[in-house]
């Protein structure tokens, strides 16, 4: 390149998202009672699209190929940071555009968008954290706005209840996480991930270290909605406004995995702790157990639901289980491949799952109802959105002509390559089960006769735009999977090369 940007610009996506949040608060303080939804939603959408553009530009330009360390090595920008920055910013853009219609009657517009942007800032920072202190601060920066977002419908009992449960579990698990950090600090004497790794290598306090690592793993399990800290997820996703549920189940989950990938592979190297001579803290085994339990529980619970939104909530737990396979297959000898599989799946999942939840948002906008029966015959009234929803659901199930097939295929292939064929087998069985409950929605929309009259006269532009954009990307990710895979492999190489 002819010119060189200053190194702090590597954090561009994070800075843009954070500044957008502050700008929205400035608008709010100038005119607190503004009803200019277009200005607020537009600012938030522009900010998140700018972050999408910056991440994509950096990725293509190869900014992160040589990791850029900032602020005394506490923050690092490499390909993985940018890859996940792209995921978070895209999901944020979709959610913001959809919220323009969904939150139309809400009285605190600017606060809503500012909270979304702040949470997104925290998520992008999570993907860049190279110190346990930054991990904790960015984790909280993404969690605290999320609590408020879930409970933002102050007069809706479901929303408040969901916010309370999300907050209680979140406060508990972040306290457990920080206690784990304190134990790891006690053993190693540092919070920087590379220094923790060298401290881990020559310690004999494996008992304290083991408890610390397991507590940190618990904090990640909460953020990714995995067993044992998964039970907030169905409540929070069901009670929250649907765009917020989309945001949490896609972006927040991906952020949890991003930070888990980096912390576990960099600070607690598999070759030291699991397979090495002093092998004693087998967190890979813990991840295997969690992966199997999480995907089985998520999929079986999803199969028994009556409400579409709650079914999607459990299916999102199931997907957390699939991605956990990436962590569970480390130590098998093809670490880069399995991690890349996990990351690619999170990117595809970001679009298809956001899209599915935004269709729920559309249904709630039309007051269609919540159960499978309420969706009967929806395609007769809204064929366009129904096609998009069908794409999302089949992609989530992992059927061939969509992006979800490729990412799941590579994820399971990675597990097989690493010698954990049984993980891939359990994953495949669960995917087959998931096809059952996804197709229940498709059947209700397309085949069943309408049970009642739908009162659909409006076509909300924002919601439609977001759903169509998500559907187009989900379809395009099949032919475009080659480049996604390329970036995911580079991102994984930054961790386990």
């Amino acid at each position: 390149m002819a010119f060189q940007l200053p190194t702090w610009m590597a954090l561009g996506p994070t800075l843009v998202l954070g500044l957008t949040a502050l700008l929205l608060l400035v608008f709010d303080s100038i005119e607190p009672d503004t009803t200019n939804r277009g200005l607020l939603a537009g600012t938030a959408a522009l900010g998140s699209l700018a972050a999408v553009g910056l991440s994509a530009w950096y990725l293509v330009a190869g900014t992160g190929e040589e990791p850029i360390s900032l602020y005394q090595n506490t923050v690092v920008v490499d390909t993985m940071t940018l890859f996940f920055g792209l995921v978070f910013a895209s999901v944020t853009a979709l959610v913001v555009v959809a919220s323009y219609d969904y939150m139309r009657d809400h009285s605190y517009q600017a606060e809503y968008y500012a909270l979304v942007m702040l949470a997104a800032t925290g998520m992008t920072l999570m993907a860049a954290a190279n110190s346990l202190a930054v991990v904790f601060v960015s984790l909280e920066l993404s969690s605290l706005p999320s609590f408020a977002l879930v409970a933002i419908l102050k007069k809706n009992r479901g929303s408040v209840e969901a916010g309370l449960k999300y907050f209680l579990i979140g406060a508990l698990s972040s306290a457990i996480f920080v206690y784990g950090v304190s134990l790891v600090y006690g053993v190693t004497g540092s919070l920087l991930l590379p220094e923790v790794a060298s401290g881990v290598a020559d310690t004999n306090l494996t008992g304290v270290l083991g408890i610390g690592v397991m507590m940190i793993l618990g904090g990640f399990a909460y953020k990714t909605a995995s067993v044992p800290f998964h039970f907030w997820a169905p409540e929070a996703y069901e009670g929250a406004p649907a765009p917020v549920a989309a945001f949490l189940s896609s972006a927040s989950k991906a952020a949890g995995f991003a930070v888990a990938f980096r912390v576990l592979t960099v600070a607690f190297p598999v070759e030291e702790l699991v397979t090495g001579a002093a092998g004693s803290v087998d967190w890979v085994l813990a991840a295997q157990i969690l992966a199997v339990v999480t995907m089985t529980l998520g999929n079986f619970a999803a199969a028994t639901q009556d409400e579409v939104k709650r079914m999607l909530a459990y299916s999102s737990i199931g997907h957390a289980g699939y991605v956990l396979i990436a962590l569970a297959s480390l130590s098998g000898g093809s670490d880069q491949f399995v991690l890349a599989g996990g990351m690619a799946h999170l990117l595809v999942y970001g679009f298809m799952n956001t899209g599915a939840f935004l269709f729920i948002a559309l249904a709630e906008y039309w007051s269609v109802g919540r159960t499978f029966e309420d969706y009967n015959g929806l395609a007769t009234k809204a064929p366009f959105a129904s096609v998009a929803m069908t794409v999302f659901l089949f992609s989530l199930a992992g059927l061939p002509p969509f992006g979800g097939f490729m990412s799941k295929y590579f994820l399971f292939a990675g597990a097989v390559r690493a010698g954990f064929w049984w993980l891939a087998a359990i994953g495949a069985i669960n995917s087959a089960l998931s096809l059952y409950y996804y197709s229940r929605v498709v059947k209700a929309i397309w085949i069943e006769d309408p049970s009642g009259d739908f009162d659909i006269e409006s076509k909300p532009v924002g919601l439609y735009t977001a759903i169509v954009a998500a559907a187009v990307v989900t379809v395009l990710l099949l032919p475009g999977f080659g480049s996604v895979w390329q970036f995911a492999t580079d991102a994984a190489a930054a961790l386990v090369a």
Binding site: A133, G158, V178, S182
Partner: protein, 100 residues
């Protein structure tokens, strides 16, 4: 100097009290106080280990933890306030309109 094990025992005891409080109390405010105990147990560890290792990382991080605990309580109190307005109670088991 007090041996490091004593601090570890103290913090483990405070952590256990906090966990006990979370498991047995139904009042949301008492739940918040129990979470504070958990966070402060971690702070004791951080400060004690900071002295033990002879660097200031742990002490500095404990300041971050204090600030974030305050922020968390601010959001939590807000949520408990709307809980009270909707359910006329701060009992966490009252809010159970959705099945678990």
């Amino acid at each position: 100097m007090v041996p490091i094990e004593y601090y570890l025992l103290l913090s483990a005891a405070i952590f256990s009290i906090g966990v006990f409080g979370i498991l047995t109390r139904r009042n949301a405010l008492l739940f918040l106080m129990s979470v504070e105990l958990l966070l402060n147990a971690a702070n004791i560890n951080l400060v004690a280990f900071s002295r033990f290792h002879g660097n200031l990382t742990g002490q500095t991080f404990s300041l971050f933890t204090l600030a974030l605990a305050a922020a968390e309580v601010a959001v939590g109190i807000g949520i408990i306030l709307v809980l009270y307005r909707n359910f006329k109670d701060v009992d966490v088991t009252e809010a159970a309109t959705m099945r678990w």
